[in-house]
Symmetry: C2
Subunit: 411 residues, 2 copies
């Protein structure tokens, strides 16, 4: 292979750059000439916004910094390629650019929306009998990708959530009067991230008292009854709730608040305010002190807390994508398969992108308690191995050091 | 000295338990028989809620865990002692209890509100010629205590804020469209914590674009003009704003939003919603994507990021309080004096509690840029040494391990 190109798409994670490094380092180790990066994903490629990654990653220190740098190093986009039929010009342009840069393989690090890009490009490539190979590299804190056991990015977000929730639980117990804290966690339709709050419970922590996932219809009455029951026995009540919980009429709980909505290119609503709304209801009904805490973008960018398992797997899926391209695969996504539960062991495999693109994997209903207010031990056993071990930041002058993008000349 | 007693009061910090350990260990090392803890501060003492700390701290591992445990291990209160005149019964009761437990010295870890307790008790003690010594141990993330160079708790909160802000800045740059992120940071009247956002700027980070402290009257017009100017040159604009910023009419910015207010025993309003209000204004005026991020209680409980300087100084002020009591002092507060700028060196001193209780130290106006939109380098030079060096959590099964309170028998 002469040259390859790699892009990052969709929301960032704390370890998405470890996957970028996995692609870069494996390609260079395998003798690829140039590893190009699309700046802001496929949209950047269409705009000719392309850099040679060797201008950015110059030595071992840069590699170790890149692995610890949150957000997408190359920049991201939420651009959806149009359908092939009727939009051939867009595809011709992409393949023209790939040809111009003598690209043999195209890697795209992203979630289920981004895998749509791999699907369309590999479909078009097959149609025109292009030799370019298209491989997807999985990434999303949401863990909602089909087929793969889990997605890189999820383990670190889960670790951050569980560690932070433990701290919030300790904080909530500081005073001697009743208090209800409601923590809002990301997850539009899938409750994987919110479920990670369950990991807080252990030998040294009371854990959260209730967990509400979007997989179960949310009942305000059941929620308030639960709070009432908990306030009778606990001084401090801590509840984890997914931003995406919905009422039986299909409306998001946060839509009951007045707030600005935002719809992105994929038609997703920006959800926020669920905790605030529920805290208001609790204060109104029980007259206790409440606190609404939104973990907000911290859960996807807090690279100062990452899981070493996750960082390693993120690197490995990037490397496995390069290996797959070398072996001649295209239209595939690297997946993770848990080959052993105890001890935890995972290997990479390949799946057809058509089974992954645009498909959302939710938390199985069997892993949620039947009253919808907590998760079952199966779910905790599934998540626990993914948050294991640490990778310390490189602290410089008191703060974690990051690698940031230089100009295209590396200056 | 036979026995001593220690309490924690006011809002917690990430290192308040390092001060508790400083008191405990120094007292034990000096041969004190029992170190008692008031559960939930002076209110717990009045209720007879007292434990022997040796039932809680049994070995070196417990000590190392205590140092890393956020929130007040003993529990806290926001109880203000009544004036002495006319309320002698309360004071008689306290001194009766102290006598019952054969207490020679009383240590109270807290901020300026809590130092009011030391002031009143030492005043009363002097009046009745009690031999009990009363010493205050400084603590507050707000850094608003008079006389002392800074307060233990501030450095770790500043480090957490600066590290998190760096990550939010990276996250904000991920897409190729304009975005304005507004980060709301604690600080009712003093901008010390918000100023820590300035530490984010450096070799590997663009830093925040504007900083608004409560020491300067907030002008919505100036704010929006600043955002407009920044949006002309930057894709992502990140602004740090104190929860306590006020308009020229004296109203808090967050009061412009509809929200529930809470007033604690000291008459403080609960402030929240400043970032949300400002983000709404920006979205309305410029039609760009906005994100309001409240660091909320995380900034005072995120013990997984602490400054080693801060942890050590927190321990030292606790130890110095015991030393002062042994030397016969009473009605004093341990303070920190910066004896050298470069290299940074701090020692403990003692100050009369009457100069500290109920006094708030604000950021000097000379350390804020004249247009009120950023801080000067003097302020950054003041904060930087306080966030230096790290103390890693003790990670167990993927999460930071804490020490939690056992019952009074240590079970």
């Amino acid at each position: 292979m002469k040259n390859v190109i790699v892009g990052q798409s969709g929301g960032p994670t704390s370890v998405i750059n470890s996957s970028l490094l996995g692609v870069y380092k494996t390609a260079k180790d395998k003798g690829v000439n140039a590893v190009y990066g699309m700046v802001h994903g496929i949209k950047g490629l269409l705009d000719g916004n392309i850099i040679n990654l060797s201008t950015q990653i110059k030595n071992d220190l840069d590699m170790d910094l890149l692995k610890r740098t949150p957000s997408s190093f190359l920049g991201s986009c939420r651009y959806k390629l149009p359908e092939i039929i009727g939009n051939e010009k867009t595809y011709e342009k992409i393949f023209f650019i790939l040809n111009e840069y003598e690209i043999s393989a195209f890697f795209y690090i992203g979630g289920n929306d981004s895998m749509d890009t791999i699907k369309k490009l590999s479909d078009y490539g097959e149609k025109i009998k292009s030799p370019v190979r298209f491989i997807g590299v999985p990434k999303t804190i949401d863990n909602d990708l089909a087929i793969t056991d889990h997605t890189p990015g999820y383990g670190s977000a889960a670790k951050y959530i569980a560690a932070t929730v433990k701290e919030i639980i300790r904080d909530g117990l500081v005073y001697d009067y009743p208090q209800v804290s409601i923590i809002e966690i990301m997850g539009r339709n899938a409750g994987w991230l919110t479920a990670a709050a369950a990991l807080s419970r252990g030998e040294d922590c009371e854990g959260v008292d209730m967990i509400f996932l979007p997989e179960v219809v949310f009942s305000l009455e059941k929620f308030l009854n639960g709070v009432e029951r908990l306030l009778q026995k606990n001084r401090s009540v801590v509840i984890a709730v997914s931003e995406g919980v919905k009422l039986s009429n299909g409306r998001y709980v946060c839509e009951l608040l007045d707030h600005v909505e935002y719809t992105d290119a994929f038609g997703h609503k920006q959800l926020a305010g669920t905790a605030r709304f529920l805290a208001g209801k609790v204060a109104e009904k029980f007259g206790v002190k409440t606190r609404a805490i939104e973990l907000s973008s911290l859960q996807r960018c807090a690279a100062h807390v990452t899981s070493r398992i996750d960082v390693t797997e993120a690197f490995n899926v990037g490397g496995a994508a390069v290996k797959a391209a070398f072996e001649g695969h295209t239209g595939k996504v690297v997946t993770l398969k848990r080959v052993s539960e105890e001890p935890y062991m995972c290997v990479t495999e390949l799946a057809d992108v058509h089974y992954i693109a645009n498909v959302e994997k939710k938390v199985p209903i069997e892993w949620i308690k039947s009253d919808g207010t907590y998760v079952k031990s199966e779910l905790i056993r599934y998540i626990r191995p993914l948050i294991q071990a640490e990778i310390a930041p490189l602290w410089v002058n008191g703060l974690p050091r990051h690698l940031i993008k230089k100009d295209k000349y590396g200056e």
